[in-house]
Amino acid sequence: MQKSLHIDPGKCTGCLQCEMACSYENYGVFNISKSRIKVFNFEHEGRKVPYTCTQCAEAWCMTACPVDAIKIDAATGAKVVNEATCVGCKVCTIACPFGTVNYVADTGKVQKCDLCGGDPACATACPTGAITYVESDWTGLEKMRLWAGKTDTQPRANA
């Protein structure tokens, strides 16, 4: 069963625990500038929106890579950058419609979310449930449940 990160911006408080967890998991340092998930703060609307790679089924980044450095992890379905192969040409950063592949000047390679090998650190760290790791076929299940609860089940008043 394939799983996906599911993001519910309505629950996000902007604490950045996810960003710290991501940098720690992948680089062993608490450093939000190295995080693959980014939380955007739309100040005047009072909205905070976490955003990262959605692991497209037909991944533009993977198709665009001239050296085949981006491969599918068979276990998780994540599109994973092989740093040894990546030449830092940045074509994938252009190809990704969402901007979730980014170049890292320090290493001369690109980085993107790899679902942490199936145990996403950001989802574990998130205190509010804004990021969860759920069955890909049913990312909408929780929303359906909420709306289902709002469905009017009261008997109609007699005419």
Partner: protein, 615 residues
């Protein structure tokens, strides 16, 4: 490393920035942030210095847990000699600024001297330089942040700045970061303004690494987060209602100071409470509260994001105020509301926005308006002098006076000097509800006796955050004590003061202490910081910090006489509520407290006390 081991020293007079190593011996004795920066401050600055002279210094400091995933690990403090008080000042702020300072590789930034012209400090990791700020002078906090982000072409830069009030000499000006988070009290922003320093812009990409035992730290931090989650206040009350959860509670206790402390219960408390913020307004069908928000690393998320009612008189034709922005927290709602008898939630929201936009302390401002309204009520201040009718309860006067104070116009100039100077000028010094020149926050010393002692002995002037005995006397944390009696309060206040000194020096938020005791913080510090951070060591560090601050104040000229409350609280009994008939027992508690502290009858630490603490 939990500490970056680097200090940035900025000489504003000569325009230089230098890196120097952190004194690690002192870090072992004073931990970080409040404690460590105060140690640097008292070692380098003459206690008699005029707060607004170039010889005063201003330190921005992080703690060892700032920038780590410890819950609320994003705090920083500003340490200086306070413009409002002349006492040691230490104002703490959340948001994202503190963590960014750490990520850039700095434990502290020490500002000294005075720049010949307006400047701001720009820091990108190791690179620090002073830049011209003449184009920023005269701008609000909100404008300043926007202009800096644009000119740096970097939306990720974190900014703290002063607004016009800090430039104009409002004595309780704040330093505001991330638009609505503030190092709020004692006039730290006024000191910054006196140095011609408009802002600090930070960008850090180094992060925090190399803790003593990262695995153990993650384990301790995770366990401590669970404690916050499982606690009713930090897990449910604060995220849902913010600190405003207290408004109705404190009012019912008869401890909500109203109309400059004439009353202890406010008939309109409900209208300005958390519950009211969440209700739909009849005008536009929306609630004042939009959502809650967190500071960096915080798993509590007490912050309020509000939208004002666009039809309210204060913002008619002012669309710039219609968007979402920082909303009311309890102290501000009290000071702008109950303290003046104003029960109009939207008016308080507006005045609070102005405080954020132009960077001044809503507690001192609101309480000073309360004093002015009493002077008006007594016929001492007239309509002509104030420029408007200003009876208790006037939302119009509150909003107008907020804008005038921000801009330094008319009577706003007098309000900007605080209640102590205002009341003295008009021959009624006893009407200033303050200690050491700093206005009380939102708890009446008659209905919560421990808070009277807290205010009287707070090293930075009246303040609730130095020993929040409300936790024990009202909420029963960690044990319930009777708010109406003085017995045992000396010990209680000392214990809270010492523990809080540690929390303020660690890099975490004092609101964690609704759920955490020192025993929850200790394993996190011990795993993160080099050295052996036992409970005993931390207790000693806390007490050492408190006594060090006290020594500075004593040397600055404060005496036991300054550990006192205004006569009203000692002679005019509470009129209603559970504390009806009671006055503050401060005169009984003070000598008991000195004894518990190991100080002599004049409030001076004895030789034995000092040597026990290594001072």
């Amino acid at each position: 490393m939990a500490w970056t081991r680097k200090i940035l020293r900025v000489d504003l007079t000569n325009g230089t920035c230098k890196s120097e190593p952190l004194n690690m011996k002192l870090a072992q004795e004073y931990l970080g942030q409040r404690g460590l920066a105060t140690k640097y401050f008292v070692d380098e600055v003459d206690p008699k210095v005029d707060p607004l002279s170039p010889a005063n210094k201003l330190i921005m400091a992080t703690g060892p847990l700032t920038g780590t995933p410890a819950s609320t690990g994003g705090r920083y403090s500003v340490i200086t000699k306070g413009a409002l008080t002349g006492a040691i000042a230490c104002s703490n702020s959340g948001g994202y600024f503190g963590a960014e300072m750490k990520f850039a590789g700095w434990d502290m930034i020490i500002f000294e001297g005075k720049s010949p012209k307006p400047v701001y400090l720009s820091v990108e990791d190791d690179k620090a330089e002073l830049r011209d700020a003449s184009h920023l002078w005269g701008k609000t906090v909100w404008q300043t942040e926007e202009i800096i982000k644009k000119s740096h072409q970097d939306p990720q830069v974190r900014v703290c700045s002063i607004g016009r009030s800090g430039e104009n000499g409002v004595l309780y000006a704040c330093i505001v970061n991330d638009l609505h988070r503030a190092a709020g009290r004692s006039g730290v922003g006024t000191v910054m303004g006196s140095k011609n320093l408009k802002a600090v812009a930070l960008r850090g990409t180094r992060g925090v690494a190399g803790m003593k035992d990262a695995k153990a730290f993650m384990k301790a931090a995770t366990a401590a987060k669970q404690v916050l989650k499982d606690n009713a206040v930090t897990g449910q009350g604060l995220p849902a209602f913010g600190t405003q959860v207290l408004m109705n509670v404190i009012n019912e206790m008869g401890a909500l100071p109203t109309r400059n402390h004439r009353d202890v219960q406010f008939e309109s408390a409900r209208k300005i409470s958390a519950e009211a913020m969440a209700e739909k307004r009849p005008t536009d069908g929306k609630s004042n509260l939009v959502t809650n928000a967190a500071c960096f690393g915080c798993t509590i998320a007490c912050g309020r994001v509000s939208k004002i009612d666009a039809t309210h008189f204060s913002v008619v034709n002012k669309p710039e105020y219609w968007g979402a922005t920082g909303g009311l927290e309890y102290e501000a709602a009290w000071a702008l509301g109950a303290a003046n008898g104003v029960g109009d939630l939207e008016a308080l929201t507006f005045a609070n926005m102005i405080c954020n936009e132009d960077g001044y302390d809503p507690i001192s401002f609101g309480a000073t308006v309360g004093a002015a309204m009493e002077l008006y009520d007594l016929g001492i201040l007239t309509k002509e002098q104030i420029g408007m009718d200003a009876p208790f309860g006037s939302a119009e006067a509150l909003c107008k006076l907020a804008e005038m104070t921000a801009r330094g116009e008319g009577f706003g100039k007098e309000l900007g000097l605080g209640s102590k100077r205002l009341c003295a000028k008009y021959g009624k010094p006893e009407l200033s509800m303050s200690v050491k020149g700093q206005e009380f926050p939102a708890y009446d010393s008659r209905g919560i006796q421990g808070m009277g002692l807290t205010y009287a002995t707070s090293n930075r002037g009246a303040c609730h955050l130095r020993s929040y005995t409300v936790a024990s006397e009202v909420l029963g944390i960690p044990v319930k004590t009777d708010p109406l009696v003085t017995e045992g309060k000396a010990d209680l206040v000392k214990a809270f003061q010492d523990a809080t000194s540690v929390f303020d020096s660690a890099g975490v938020c004092v609101f964690t202490t609704f759920a955490w005791t020192l025993a929850d913080l200790q394993p996190q510090l011990d795993a993160a910081c080099e050295g052996d951070w036992t409970m005993e060591k931390l207790a000693l560090v806390g007490e050492r910090i408190w006594n060090m601050e006290r020594q500075f104040n004593n040397a600055a000229g404060f005496t036991a006489k300054d550990d006192d409350l205004p006569p009203r609280l000692k002679t005019e009994p509470a009129k209603t509520g559970p504390a009806k008939g009671l006055v503050s027992g401060i005169d009984k508690m003070r000598p008991e407290y000195y004894k518990v502290r190991g100080w002599d009858a004049n409030g001076v630490p004895t030789k034995e006390t000092l040597s026990r603490l290594g001072l």
